[in-house]
Symmetry: C2
Subunit: 198 residues, 2 copies
Amino acid sequence: MTGKVDTRQAILDRAAELLQERGFNAFSYKDISTHLGIKNAAVHYHFPTKSDLGAALMRRYRERFDAWVAELEVRHANDPVKRLDGYLSVPLSYLRNGRKVCPIGVVEAEFDTIPEAMRDETRAFDARSRAWLAEVLEEGRASGIFRFDGSAADKALLITAALQGALQVARAGGVRLFFVALRQIKRDLGVAASVPTG
Amino acid sequence: MTGKVDTRQAILDRAAELLQERGFNAFSYKDISTHLGIKNAAVHYHFPTKSDLGAALMRRYRERFDAWVAELEVRHANDPVKRLDGYLSVPLSYLRNGRKVCPIGVVEAEFDTIPEAMRDETRAFDARSRAWLAEVLEEGRASGIFRFDGSAADKALLITAALQGALQVARAGGVRLFFVALRQIKRDLGVAASVPTG
DNA sequence: GTCTATAACGTGATAGAC
DNA sequence: GTCTATCACGTTATAGAC
């Protein structure tokens, strides 16, 4: 009802963009405040330290992922291909929205330099995301839709690592490389590429 | 003959460690100079700007890779499995030597914040590395040793992206995850894991 | 909840002596 | 080739007015 948007959320929105575009160490409170038309100190009011900001940011990623999963389960509860495509559409949206990379990947690349609270939230998000994909893969294999050797957990790890890496590689080598990786992932699962490939 | 080691090389050695441990933006000239027991200004003598340092660093990675390939070709010219294992031993050494990540991955994560000269060298290194792996995969498939669908270039891209991502994931989730990814990569190629798996 | 003002610090970089 | 000394700047963070 108020024309005013929630500043706290707006800060996190901008921080998320900056994280995935530049990394945690390469953006500042001023980058955020300028973008919102406020001052440096106002951001500190909402997040006293950068550690607070970073941890809240990763926590929100995880919460949103959980909400996204819950919604997807309702719509495509019994369709492994649709669930997989839903999962793959996340990094795809990162790529299309300014060649952003996976937040987990950036944070892990800077892991030894970021606040401990942020690392904890990252671990939680990472494990959650991988576990859900493993579930999808297992069901798809049981249905005879996916084909792969080894455990679903192992295969899920490989796929998430590849997606994370492919988003990064696309920065240096061009977006086409991400689509190639995506296609190969599906090929290796024995399914045709149904997500746009370029 | 002189007891003195080449300072320029020592700087690059330390910079390489710091890059793979902390990222390009999170280390300083002082981190390097202190480690070598010299002063900040001495480092600037060898590399006037950080851009110079970063570009020289990535160039050296590529040159060393080329030399490494040349040596490996002599020893294992006709053994795709040994050549693949050689390739996989590189990220493995990163992992074991202090949970370092792939230099290409870190740089790509920070891509929009690093000097253009450094980006150019990164692109060159990345393309070189992937092209060589594709060659190995193609020969291995022709010999009936590897099994995979799609082009060797596509498969090479997927594998390099996965290795890059897996090194990062191992930071948050533990080194075991890298070995799991490694095993799955080989499984998907239809070969048994011959590199230590944990 | 946002502002002004400022503190305290680390950074990349340079000048000039040795 | 390395040193001392210093500069200009950006950063996180805080105090206190409004």
